[in-house]
């Protein structure tokens, strides 16, 4: 047991935690995105899917708890790392060469991550929480989302956050592979490309929802 604890407190153990929880969260995002895209199928397709998930509610609840634990561990470990690393490197150079030796994605993980964290809390409150805790009209979830994004402030907020998400994922995916030890001259360039591809798909995919509903609201249809 103490060996395990020691492992997770080692520098390599901590990066394994970031990478493993991170990859699991990416998997969650894939499923989340697929569900979101059903919104483009119109109210019936989307609400049917909601009803389907509703019918397996106990299972969903279990998954939610696991997911919450993964999120919490990912966030907790990230801030711990950030704090320790700040202590390990308190002083800056007179001239910064950081732009020339590393990517902005890799340097801003704690910033993009924090923004996503704040978003997550708000997002849980505006959509998940209201849905789960006695919101009126939750039988027509499609309408709820449509109404939310008719508000330009909400639409813009969700849209902007997705850019941060893209930045985060762009570093995260290839970084996880490196941490797992799955790097090589041959495959790493491909892994990086896949990571960038995923980042774009997530950013564009998720951001398309608020944009779509906002535009619809402008058109004044339905």
């Amino acid at each position: 047991m103490s060996q395990l604890k020691q492992f997770f407190n080692s520098s390599i153990g901590k990066k394994l935690v970031m990478a493993t929880t991170g990859i699991l969260l990416i998997l969650f995002l894939v499923i989340h995105l697929i569900n979101n895209l059903l919104l483009f199928g119109g109210p019936d397709a989307f609400n049917q899917n909601v009803a389907l998930l509703e019918s397996i509610k106990p299972l969903i609840r279990v998954i939610e708890v696991i997911l919450a634990l993964i999120f919490i561990y990912h966030i907790y470990n990230a801030y711990k790392l950030w704090w320790e690393n700040k202590k390990a490197n308190p002083e800056k150079y007179a001239v910064s060469a950081k732009k020339e030796n590393s990517t902005i994605y890799s340097r801003t993980m704690v910033i993009t991550g924090s923004v996503i964290f704040i978003f997550l809390v708000i997002h849980l409150y505006t959509l998940w929480g209201k849905y789960n805790f006695g919101m009126e009209g939750s039988e027509n979830y499609f309408e709820v989302i449509k109404t939310l994004f008719a508000n330009p402030i909400w639409a813009a907020f969700y849209f902007i956050i997705m850019i941060f998400l893209g930045y985060h994922i762009n570093h995260a995916f290839q970084s996880s592979f490196q941490t797992f030890g799955w790097s090589s001259k041959k495959y790493t360039p491909l892994v990086k490309k896949i990571g960038t591809f995923l980042a774009i798909i997530f950013a564009v995919g998720f951001a398309s929802i608020p944009v779509y509903f906002f535009l619809i609201s402008l058109g004044g249809q339905g």
Partner: protein
Amino acid sequence: MSEKNIDLTLNIWRQESPEAKGHFEKFEEEISPDASILEVLDEINNRLEAEGKAPIAFESDCREGICGTCGLVVNGHPHGPLPKTATCQLHMRNFKDGDTLYIEPFRATAFKVLKDLIVDRSGFDKIQVAGGFISFNTGSAPDGNAILISKELADQALDAAECIGCGACVAACKNSSAMLFVSAKVSHFALLPQGKPERYERVQSMVKVMDENLFGSCTNTYACEAECPKGISVLNIARMNREYFMAELKTGTDE
């Protein structure tokens, strides 16, 4: 011979002692483009000494890029802006007339500034002592080809062995992580038959000592690889992670 001399403004870090507060001291110099940056410091020091002032403290030994003592930071780049070049091999022809340079020591909690441009890198020594060696006597030189090693493995091991232990990777890293250095040492042994028997104990004890000595944790920014004067690849860090996971599994199940 060379083109004409260039005029540079050098801001050089001066710090009396580890506890003292440091500051930049400004020097306006006319410099031969053929001089290395250390030679420029030598010249300034000659003058300072003639004037009865304290010379700028900096480290160097081989002055041919192999000993690793000469690390300093030029305009934010450990070992200067030229890729894969140690400070001692950095010549002033790489700068333009009128340039302003900021020369300062490696900065990291693990590398305390001792004086001016000299930092305490004993953390690296401690990591080396923890496992950067082979603990059995290898005897006299073995017969050639007695132990066969594929070209590919030999290349990877020797690439890792190129690490000169200078500490630029730590200095470049926003987390002051020593992973590139440690992974180079771990890889260089783990890839060769002579190093294999102790590979798992080695990686565990070197990582442990690294973590104990105030080096930060790696977050894969790869600034180390970009600044390393020997071009040590971050693929070594991936290899070290694999070694470490294997070591944990092994020691976790052996008992």
